[in-house]
Symmetry: D3
Subunit: 206 residues, 6 copies
């Protein structure tokens, strides 16, 4: 009993500052430049801080690869905390083609198999074949790729320096839309025929 | 005389806080994640805050275009201030091909002529023909292009949300290096022949 | 058809991460310390990223000057991106009087005419007469001014390190309100008569 | 009359940029990672920028100490500005036990009496007995304590590098909840009996 | 002995991460946009985290006021932590005239006496007479003042949202230098005679 | 040959902006609040972006656990990028006792086995038993723990929202130093005997 009163005074002690040092995303509300609005603390449960789907994705697709994300839209507990994760599975012969994360650095932690990965700058290329125990960093906004260069499947975990890293596949950007092929050709120095050919593959028109 | 003493007491008043609210780059020293070290305040002159070369560049090159920069390495007064600028000149028929600024947003302020510009996301394309009086924003890290779509030359000023925005031409990243053509082909879905052809243009090997 | 299925698998590939790397302001909603809430991506059009009113303002006013802004409230695409712009027109003999941007650095890009500009610190004054091709930086929060010192009109573009830079004219702060003239005099060392005289000019009372 | 028109042109001059450089918290709305939404400027009064309760708290409690806060939830004017304050009163023999502010640095400004304070890192301990005129900094996230080591009461003001610093008392974290005592013992190397004993004091179960 | 070995294994456990979560300024080295370089951890003592001079300053000067600072240059432990402090003493009849902190928000914590303080925006004035127990916030970059409006001396503590807040007295900026009086008059709408008169007071020339 | 000239003009095109969008740590130089100085770009190799030691650590120690870090001091490529990683191995019966990362959020990605993990706030406890496929977030500065609750060893990868996250074991902070046991007891509400007992275990004195 005395403890109850005691506890009460303790809580009173910090009552005006009854904040937590996190802001779980209320995904039903609007987003903002700093992230989603905070869910009321009373409604927060441990399941907001745990995501249970970081498992192997289905690699039966054109890339023979799958990326399973644990970004803020999957995992509301990371809102505003500047970090998120994903799992990468690449079947034999598959790859994650050239892509960028416009506002996030990526770390790749090798778990199984062999991946040849790299990023390019105007001045140099940084490429390496990675095995379990290796970790590689792809600085923010750099164009990069990951190719399964081993004899079996390859698995890695990815961490990002943003709760909501975009993922932009270069082919989708260049060839998955209706920008006229001539304009794409002019601004990439590719041949128009080549542009049209790859557009057909990526669903683009024009 | 009295004023001198008086002034002295004023300066004493803030003497421990004798800082300025800027940090002009000492370009001879090392860079850091927040920018260059500060030049001692005594050595700072107005010329550190003024750059006089934001003039038309020579457009006699493969792009028929020129970008003249006023970045921290040109203009040490912007160090640490999160902003810089450039001038863009595109001759008739020229363009700034696909490129990204990995860590900066770009504003394009049209001054003369006509430019068709755009950026692409995995979900949509945002493209527009701009005339003097128009300003367009290319959010951080997005792949974008600018084409002179008018009948004469085109001029624009650019502002960036970084004192030191990188500029990465997609062609240089993909074709200006010695990554094996097969690997480029695999990670872009371009034909190997096409890769080799454009590599010859951009000085790449392999 | 196969392409449609193919595209579908591509989209599925990034479906939980279906974010864009921008946050166009929903200007009907509330502001926050990081900017406005994001407009739903589906409602975003290229016109959110383009502002077409960066034209000469009317300089028939007490300053013989006009500032035309492309801030987030004019130009929702810059929300959260840390950059915005404006156009400055100063008629012969005019000026932008002493002012500050409390939370933004300003870049001034000269386009036409001649402007004498400067900013002051407790330790030094940095002032220069600028001509086309010159660019000057006014670090965040510094008191600064721009005077047309040429024989015709002067035009410049401004870039700011904030999507929503305030603009505070010193005269409006000191003389455009109802703070008692005696208090203004005491805290500026100006004569009370002088304070009252300038107050009449700037609509102040008291 | 002319002044009214004149004033009007002045206001027009900045009309699209009619922003203030602050964002007073609308405490009725949701919080976000960058703070609360902004109250409409028209509804802001000087009382949003002034908090009048930074007075001595009641030290008749288990710690013989009181912390009176001026955080954003008390003082909406600090929203988004990265700073807040508190007042600390410690009766003779009292203390603020071990605690952390997970996302804020603390400054302690001594006003009256004597406080022995310190923080610990894995490599060193930084502890000092403070008297009026002393100020001590406790870097962000460090475990620290303050003990009245004088012969009378002690008073200090605290400033924080956050508008909403959490305050986490170590005893509440370890002993004020229902985590099984065995688990607490295992992860602290304390004896289970000790854990149960202190749990009774801090209202914990299990 | 066993404990020594034991401790060794503990330290080894974190040996590659032997960092502290602070960066005490090495004031002999250069400054940078994020603050001073870190002093080697071995050389850091508790005295880097304590400053003992936050005492009453000498108010026998033109303002009848004194500001005693505990900024990073006085108090190296606050380097990089985004917070610092000062003490304000204003004798009867004195004031801190109009000034700004270009890159810091200020909190004023009243300790003794009565201060009338305020800040001005283009749209409103926020002014209040403060007594002990009151705290007022002056948002970043705003022009503000503090006047002793009581019958005795007044004392306050200040906290800032920067380790190195500038302090810019308006009179020094306008009248403490050699900018031609005509130019000051043109850009402030003050009379030239008034400018020259106040310049004599603040040591200005021209 | 023509390509060489051509390439030259391309490089000239961006010559003043010859920056990369990363800053590999020069670990021989001083640290700063934003990270280490940048190694000259010419000296950077792919090995700065790859760390090959993220392997199982030796769990033969008092915790039956090992943390292997890939922080900036191990892995210079992450400097300034706001992200790093580690590998966690916990033998059967082992645990990572209560600890904090004062300036970083932690993500735990389960790879093998079973870990019961949790963090505590003054208002609630968030604890969960994790299996492969689960990921949990521990927000910045929160006290947390990880216990192997399975029948074999457990392995996880950790990602942090900082290139240089501190790791502070609560026992080392409280019991690994020479703070008098009475003072520790007073500020933790533990018994003095208990403090002395655990101090012997963690190498503390006093």
């Amino acid at each position: 009993m005395i403890y109850i009163l005691f506890l009460f005074s303790l809580l009173a002690f910090t009552s005006n500052a009854a904040v937590n040092d996190f802001c779980v995303a209320d995904l039903k509300g609007p987003d903002s430049p700093s992230g989603y609005q905070c869910k009321p603390t009373k409604e927060v449960t441990v399941d907001d801080f745990v995501f249970s789907g970081l498992v192997a994705g289905n690699t039966t697709n054109t890339f023979n690869a799958a990326l399973t994300s644990a970004f803020v839209t999957d995992f509301p507990g990371v809102n505003g905390l500047g970090v998120s994760a994903a799992r990468l599975d690449i079947a034999k012969g598959g790859s994650i083609p050239m892509h960028t994360h416009p506002a996030a650095t990526e770390l790749l932690i090798m778990v199984e198999g062999k991946i040849t990965a790299g990023f390019m700058t105007p001045f140099a290329v940084y490429t390496k074949t990675l095995k379990p125990g290796d970790i590689m960093v792809f600085p923010q906004g750099q164009l990069h790729f990951q190719v399964n260069s081993g004899k079996g499947k390859a698995t890695a975990f990815l961490a990002f320096s943003s709760a909501n890293p975009g993922a932009q596949l270069l082919d989708l950007l260049l060839f998955g839309n209706s920008i006229p092929s001539e304009l794409i050709a002019q601004t990439t120095f590719l041949d128009v025929d080549q542009v049209k050919k790859v557009k057909r593959r990526f669903g683009g028109r024009g």
